[in-house]
Amino acid sequence: MNAHPTREEDFDLYALGALEGDERLAIETHVVSCADCARKLAEAHGRIALLALAAPPSEPSAGVKQRLMQQVRRDAERSSALPASPGVPARTSGRPSRETPRSSEPFGRWWAAVLVPVGAVLAVATVLLWTDNRQLDRQLAGLRSAVEQQQQQLQEAREAADMIESHDTVTIALAQQPGMPAGAAHVMYNARMGMLMYDGEIAPAPAAKSYQLWLVPEGGKPISAGVFNPVGGRTDHWMMKLPQGIAAKEFAVSLEPAGGMPQPTGPMVLIGRA
């Protein structure tokens, strides 16, 4: 176990996200084996979280709750093991109803009998048009987002093709290590472009664990190339971008706590020399 942080505020600086490199790593590795410091770090997270309250107030749009509750209803309906969905509460507000009191005066005039229904129809039409407009806005935003996503995918596909065809791209086979889950993979890496593509097959990670791919440079510490949890064991054409110009000594896959670690802490499952 490495030493306790020398100053109490180190935990707050960590929770704030200001620490980096060795300072950050020292706390991360220390709290794994020191319950007292792990508690202090959790307290610091709780304290620093309060800074959220300093953000300028901004209520979410009403549609967010509506969409959330629709999502929840669909989820509840999908779950056949559960009792019938109780549904969203009929109320939308805990406050008393604010209906405008109706006039006690009877509609004695003929035009009122015409204008009131016409007014009601117009009001309904206005609401429907407004709702349609909102739906169209949302659809447009969704389409715009889909187009941007497709453009990004196209760009990534072009970059992948460039990397595969490039003469300075190397392919490295990663082999299973003794005593580790069965698996094999290969990595295509282009240091000049800072691009890497991983293909492999490996047993699913145990609960609360993730696989993490590392580039081990000629000099210096391993660099995380990403965290993955292969569905069905297979990972195909997983593209990653890394800093450009790093000469790789080897690539490795380790088993880490879910979400990955800044530096390898778990066993190496696959290793391949460049």
């Binding site: 600086l13 704030l16 709780g46 979280a49 309060l50 953000a55 209520e59 549609g63 967010v64 800093p243």
Partner: protein
Amino acid sequence: MSSETGTELRASDAALIDRIMQRDQTALAALYDRYAGMLSSVLIRILRDRQTAEEILQDIFFQLWSAPSRFDPGRGSLPAWLMVIARNRAISQLRRHNPAAGEPLVEAAAISTINLESAASQQQLLGRVKGALENLPPEQRAAVEFAYFDGLTHSEIAKRTGDPLGTVKTRLRSAVETLRRTLHSAAGSTT
């Protein structure tokens, strides 16, 4: 703005989480009314993009519905836990647009005794937190905001402001020392 009924206004966070575990949708709606505004504010402040912020907000509450047991009431308050998740999700989103920035954030355990179950307690604590930040020297306050709301590390703040790295570290350490004292007493006063 809240639309909680009187019964739900009185229900504790822990009781509402219990009801979510029993698949009570009204309990989730009540927690949404209680904390969505607070989370929305920090998400929009970090992301500066309402649409993405609202997508993350919806997802956080759906995750709460899907896996309420991930919150352990024995370890502290629900709003602190939600605020840590919201901030981490927002900063991760920022870094996805700029993969070279910073290191990955993972969900962290957060212990806090704050109680924000009523709008009054939220307002009270909000005033104290704002006061704590406003009492910092401007350069310390700016450094804290760069770190918390923009997800910048020491060296990234130094690069952004043009100040020497050592100066930034000293500023942030001094700010955090002050905030430790003031936020601790602020949190204590709402329990």
